[in-house]
């Protein structure tokens, strides 16, 4: 018995030691059939659809023409979950060869020596580099003077707008608000004057949810940017030379908080805004719960997203308006950064000699063959070209690139798209709504949204992030002010700032200022 126990103990220690060393030694990069396996963890283009099927023709093309055995794995759609998955793999020293990663996580992985610098590899991808990578995108993936990933263009910049229910304005005989005072009056009317005429007290002026992060969209988040923008404090960081630093230190931030608190106190803000998740918020405007909001162009105007609103309110109409002016004449839809999706190469992949094949894969993706195959699928099966050369669905039905069976073949499209006119025209076609017969276009909405005034905060995504305690203190205290748990007075505000400085806010601010100055982010 003792012998048995001893053996078990030895086996346990041996197994533990094996596991403790992380991933086993990786074998040679070249497989027996001469191909090189590349494991790619990608962000799905259509999160609600399934992964790329095994019969995708891209696998065969890559294997036969490029000697690449591509293994795909989709990352979670939620950013936090993505970060956890990547970091869990990193902790086990088992990162895939190529993977999508956020800038804050990339910084940590570089610090751990897990990611390969790619400065020398851009030259191996002339076509893709010309199409996707410029000085700004390379700066996005640059840490300590080296580029540690390929940063492709992400979602279109300035793709959100301030929208108002025009039918409600018309019903109440109101004009589009142009400043904060008028905005408050309209919000009151939308809340208390039965704008939809249903005889019920079931509407609110403004709808939002907390959409914040620790780089660009500081608490209370992007959905309130038009209000914060009227005070010149939209965005977590101010990158203007004269006010460089966290916006929370500006006196106008307090004024903005007072205005938002007033919205809550007067009941003109949908009271669910603190607990809404994104989908709840989007369901709410489609149910006619509020009349003013900041929304993304496609979430508002694409055919599938607009359809429920159209069915519920055939006479309803949202219009995109200018952001309201604040007391000093400032106005902004919000702070914006250039959005990028960074794909990093693991140090293990580089050590195994896979870098060139990875570059070959990326270059193929940006070739005509790869671009259309990843972006829209197979011509005649998943798309057809119209007279202007725009890929359209034609009469391909479910197999079309936007149909339930065809869209899974376009899951890699975010790795090849660069927001060209062809892509946008294809992605956001003009259509007629099913119930009200309106002519809608998410592309028209996008162009109108982009034409409004925005605050440039280019490089915010690279700024240093605080530790969890500082971030919690910042978000919790602001939330307590807005929800009324803590009285919003100048004294309490100063106490908050003092506490924020003590816990590490001042150090974070100084670190951010130094980073912005050192990396040319100051305007």
């Amino acid at each position: 018995m003792k012998k048995l126990l001893s053996l078990m103990l030895i086996a346990l220690i041996a197994m533990s030691a094996v596991f403790a060393n992380g991933a086993a030694e990786k074998s040679s990069a070249v497989n027996e059939d001469g191909t090189v396996t590349i494991e790619l963890w990608y962000g799905a283009a259509i999160t609600e659809a399934g992964p790329i099927p095994d019969d995708w023709v891209g696998y065969d093309i890559l294997r036969e023409e490029h000697g690449i055995d591509l293994k795909l794995s989709v990352l979670p759609s939620n950013e936090s979950d993505q970060d956890v998955r990547i970091q869990a793999a990193a902790a086990g020293n088992s990162l895939p060869d190529l993977f999508m990663v956020s800038r804050p996580v990339l910084t940590r992985l570089v610090d751990q020596g897990l990611v390969a610098p790619v400065d020398d590899y851009y030259a191996l991808m002339p076509n893709r580099t010309a199409q996707q990578y410029d000085a700004d995108s390379i700066a996005m993936s640059t840490i300590d003077g080296h580029s540690y990933g390929f940063a492709s263009p992400g979602s279109v910049a300035k793709n959100e707008g301030l929208l108002i229910r025009k039918d409600w304005l018309d019903n109440l005989g109101l004009e589009v608000p142009t400043n904060l005072d008028e905005l408050m009056e309209v919000m009151r009317a939308f809340t208390y004057d039965d704008p939809d005429g249903n005889g019920k007290n079931d509407t609110y002026g403004y709808g939002a949810y907390i959409e914040s992060d620790a780089t660009l969209k500081g608490y209370p988040g992007a959905r309130l940017f038009p209000i914060l923008g009227a005070f010149g404090v939209d965005g977590l960081w101010c990158l203007e030379e004269e006010n460089l630093g966290l916006n929370v230190y500006k006196p106008e931030f307090y004024d903005a908080m007072v205005y938002i608190r007033q919205m809550c106190e007067e009941g003109v803000m949908d009271p669910n805004w603190l607990t809404y998740k994104k989908d709840d918020f989007r369901a709410a405007w489609k149910q006619g719960r509020f009349g003013i909001m900041k929304e993304q162009n496609a979430a508002y105007a694409s055919e599938s997203n607009y359809a429920p609103f159209d069915a519920n309110f055939p006479d309803g109409e949202w219009i995109i308006i200018d952001p309201p002016e604040g007391p000093d004449g400032l106005a902004s839809v919000g702070a914006y950064d250039q959005n990028y999706r960074i794909y990093a190469m693991s140090q293990d992949a580089a050590d195994e000699g896979k870098a060139e094949k990875i570059c070959e894969l990326l270059e193929w993706m940006s070739s005509d063959e790869g671009y259309y195959l990843c972006g829209w699928g197979v011509e005649g099966v998943n798309y057809v070209l119209d007279e202007n050369g725009i890929p359209v669905t034609g009469d391909l039905g479910d197999n079309s690139f936007s149909g339930p069976d065809g869209q899974v073949y376009t899951q890699l499209r975010n790795m090849v798209f660069y927001n060209s006119d062809v892509e946008l025209a294809s992605r956001y076609p003009t259509y007629t709504t099913a119930v009200s017969g309106k002519t809608m276009s998410a592309l028209t909405a996008l162009r109108e949204m982009q034409s409004k005034y925005w605050t440039a905060a280019i490089g915010s995504g690279q700024m240093p992030t605080p530790n969890a305690d500082v971030q919690r203190y910042y978000e919790q205290t602001l939330a307590e002010f807005l929800s009324g748990q803590r009285a919003l007075t100048p004294e309490n505000w100063q106490a908050f700032i003092d506490g924020f400085n003590r816990i590490g806010g001042a150090a974070w601010n100084e670190e951010g200022i130094a980073y912005a100055q050192a990396n040319g982010l100051v305007r």
């Binding site: 346990l12 992380g22 990193a90 020293n93 009271p271 607990t275 140090q347 919690r472």
Partner: protein, 331 residues
């Protein structure tokens, strides 16, 4: 005396044991392990799967717990990372919100024991006592159902019930002239939402073990009690409760062992910045500071701390139980 017992039992002879009340009992001889395994090989084969599971997923990772004392760098691996002593523990204990995190964690753990345990016992007894078969099965099924829903779904259900503008509960409050309450973002209401929603979700599942214990009670005891004129309450009080007491104690001891686990999934879904002061628990802090910030050494240190505290509490509670109620303790 003990040495003698062991010697007798090892030799295959029955041993004697004197209980605290002075009674002497015979203890069956302990068979050799190899013989025992061969004799009941089918049962031991069944044990193999959970045995392997525990070895691979519970015991092997213990080796990696050493990163709690290291400045863990993935590239260097567990063995290659530098030792930093108790730095990770010090970082946790000196974190700005440590005492609040500990308070919240204990508040929810103890609160869940105080609320969920009695509720599931009452439900089990109610189901056991119910003589209407269809009603019993329906209640049982409905009570189990929420356990199988994830907290993502439960959040949706709670939101539909508790929303200040459109929630059913607030509609009722407004109907009676009251002011709507934002249950999910009020620091006063939030703890109750957490505790009661957990009780609702888990009471049916937790009741299973008590129902199983109730099924083992000798029915002749109830028949005799009924002949003696005992009413329902008296039967529950004098037969049911004493019969399932060892199971209650076992469940309680197991819950005490995980007292620093207050329910990450639930809290992560329900909490938001305005209720951090009453909603942030050790596990949510570890998620934000340890996992999202790549501080795996810190996260492991906290896990180790929780495990040690849990183990000490179980040992201490077990001692107490064995002192006051012999036969009810775990070991």
């Amino acid at each position: 005396m003990r040495k003698k017992d062991s010697a007798e039992r090892a030799a295959g002879q029955p041993a004697t044991k004197v209980l605290k009340d002075g009674t002497t009992i015979l203890v069956a001889p302990k068979p050799a392990l190899k013989k025992e395994i061969l004799r009941h090989k089918d049962v031991y084969l069944l044990l193999l799967i959970p045995f392997v599971y525990y070895i691979v997923f519970k015991y092997v990772p213990i080796f990696n717990a050493q990163i709690a004392f290291k400045d863990f760098r993935a590239r260097d691996g567990v063995l290659g990372s530098a030792w930093i002593g108790f730095q990770n523990f010090t970082d946790f204990f000196s974190s700005f919100y440590f005492w609040e995190l500990l308070r919240n964690t204990l508040m929810y753990s103890i609160g869940k024991i105080l609320i969920s345990l009695p509720v599931s016992i009452i439900l089990a007894i109610a189901i056991y006592e119910c003589t209407h078969y269809a009603l019993r099965k329906t209640v049982q099924t409905l009570a189990y159902l929420p356990h199988f829903l994830s907290w993502v779904i439960m959040y949706g259900v709670l939101f539909a019930l508790l929303s200040p503008s459109s929630g059913i509960l607030n509609d009722i409050i407004k109907l009676f002239g009251g002011q709507p309450v934002d249950f999910l973002s009020s620091v006063k209401a939030f703890p109750w939402v957490v505790l009661l929603s957990d009780a609702w979700k888990e009471m049916g599942w937790s009741a299973i073990i008590f129902i199983a214990a109730l099924m083992n009670i000798d029915v002749t005891l109830f028949e005799a009690a009924m002949v003696e004129g005992a009413n329902s309450w008296q039967r529950v009080r004098y037969i049911t409760f004493p019969s399932i007491k060892p199971v209650i104690v076992t469940v309680l001891l197991l819950k005490i062992g995980t007292i620093l686990d207050a329910g990450f999934n639930q809290m992560y879904m329900l909490y938001s910045p305005q209720v951090y002061s009453v909603g942030d628990i050790i596990d949510t802090w570890v998620y934000r500071q340890g996992l999202l910030q790549f501080e795996f050494g810190l996260a492991t240190a906290v896990g180790l701390f929780k495990g040690v505290i849990g183990m000490l509490l179980v040992v201490f509670s077990n001692k107490l139980v064995s002192k006051f109620s012999e036969g009810s303790s775990l070991f």
